[in-house]
């Protein structure tokens, strides 16, 4: 009897919406269908011999290759990665600015919509896919990687720049215009200086992303550390590959630390 009064005192369970159940059911179906439709080779991965061969494969990585000529080569690839990311970001900013002017609606409404569409397409194709396609045009090497970074980043920066320009207070430019300044001068001396700090910080942020992207971009043959990794892995030179992976991790850690330090210094 006492128990039943306790049960009555408990609040009723919240009502469950039918659509929530349907969404959950849909997600479950998606997961089941995914596993069912993929030709996954679990047996090849969890048998004793497969585990042995995997362990052998991984043991081949230690110790990393540390001969001086190889380290110098890795350092060269590291510099190539940095250069690719820097030039790619710079090109993207140069291409992104005129696109942003059109995207901010300065050339009319039709141009704005068209430019935004172009920017969306540039942006939704990842760097690596750009690199694979551009390899056909530019040949193997860091040039294709640089252009791939530039293409994707131009889409991102163009969009961000356009938003930054649209958000600027128009009053200053209008004042210059009504007082007889030419359109270009009014833009350069009134609107651009207001948007510039934000545009610079977007560019720096994308550069940080691009360093990370440039490190792996080479696996399709577009230069930098990635190309070296791909090369040594396909020759099964595991110690060399291990050195390259470590170089990648160090590069990313350094970029993270630098960006963290810079952000703290700037915001304080």
């Amino acid at each position: 009897m006492k128990q039943s009064t306790q049960l009555q005192a408990a609040p009723p369970a919240p009502p469950r919406d039918l659509t929530s159940w349907l969404i959950l059911l849909g997600l479950l179906a998606l997961v089941v269908a995914s596993f069912a439709s993929l030709p996954l080779q679990w047996s090849a991965f969890f048998t004793a011999e497969a585990v042995d061969s995997a362990r052998e494969f991984l043991a081949g990585f230690a110790p990393p290759e540390t001969s001086t000529p190889f380290l110098m080569k890795t350092l060269g690839a590291l510099w190539e990665t940095l250069a690719m990311s820097a030039i790619g970001t710079l090109l993207a900013a140069i291409v992104g600015l005129p696109l942003a002017l059109a995207g901010a609606g300065r050339l009319g409404r039709a141009a704005r919509a068209a430019t935004r569409l172009v920017l969306n397409v540039l942006r939704s194709i990842p760097e690596l896919v750009w690199a694979a396609v551009l390899l056909v045009l530019a040949g193997l090497g860091p040039m294709a990687g640089t252009m791939a970074l530039a293409a994707h980043t131009a889409g991102v920066l163009g969009r961000l720049f356009a938003d930054a320009l649209e958000n600027v207070e128009p009053h200053a430019e209008e004042t210059l215009r009504t007082n007889g300044a030419r359109p270009l001068a009014a833009f350069l001396y009134a609107t651009l200086p207001q948007a510039l700090p934000q545009m610079l910080s977007y560019t720096l942020y994308r550069w940080e992303n691009n360093i990370r992207a440039a490190a792996v971009l080479g696996v399709v043959g577009a230069g930098g550390l990635g190309q070296m990794l791909k090369y040594h892995l396909s020759l099964f030179q595991m110690p060399s590959a291990a050195t390259v992976v470590i170089a990648m991790l160090v590069l990313v850690a350094l970029v993270d630390a630098a960006s963290y330090a810079l952000r703290r210094a700037l915001t304080r």
Partner: protein, 276 residues
Amino acid sequence: MKDQAVLHRDPAWRTRVTWAAIFIVLLYPLLAGAEFKPWLLFDAQSLRAAGMFLLDFLVPATDPEFLAMVLRETWQTVAIATAGLTLALLVAIPATFVITERLSISRLGTGRVHPFAALVRQGLRWILMILRSVPELVWALLFVRIVGLGPTAGVLAIALSYSGMLAKVYAEILESSDAHATDVLLANGSGRLPALLYGALPDSSAELVSYTVYRWECAIRGSAVMGFVGAGGLGQRLDESTKMMAGGEVATMLIMFVLLVAAADLVSKLLRRRLG
């Protein structure tokens, strides 16, 4: 000629010129490092190859057999992302349970975590950090060497790098929720699991779900890209067609890719609004 009456000199020209000079000096070694030689694009031979590719590119391939193949590969890309994320969750959820310091029982009363528990927690955090700092593409490259070409490598690569990422962010979300409910439950003798389920989870479940859905969207993009190293899905076919210079096929697959990303973006937005 009224508006040309007074032309003022730019008052900041000295700093502008200095910065431009420094910039150019720094630019040269970077251009050399990236082997940036745009004129190479315009020599006769590469121009002819590029021209053929681009002409072909303007007419997307549309024969039904090819389209069916593209659809099949697109589904495989989604399936790799979903399966990889599911496996990642199987690792990430228990890992979150271990590394969330909020759920520490030895911390109760003294405020100090037992040294052994702290060691286990820190060790697992380091393992997760290694899992997520190796880029997923590099994981895929390694797994292609171990298990061979095909979607298994892609699923494993996503599972490993995303488990590291998800566990870290889950723990951060749980730690940033209101500590009161969890602390009261633990102090009154509840176990760690009920404390998680009834204390921390209700407060942060929306954020957890929305982050997971966002990561699923990222995984779809990642799995499409991982095909380029041979891990199955749309990327692998795109890579093959590019190498054969079949511009029309590349165009069709790029359009499919853009549509896939847009669709994932839309579904993720809807789900997050519904569940978040």
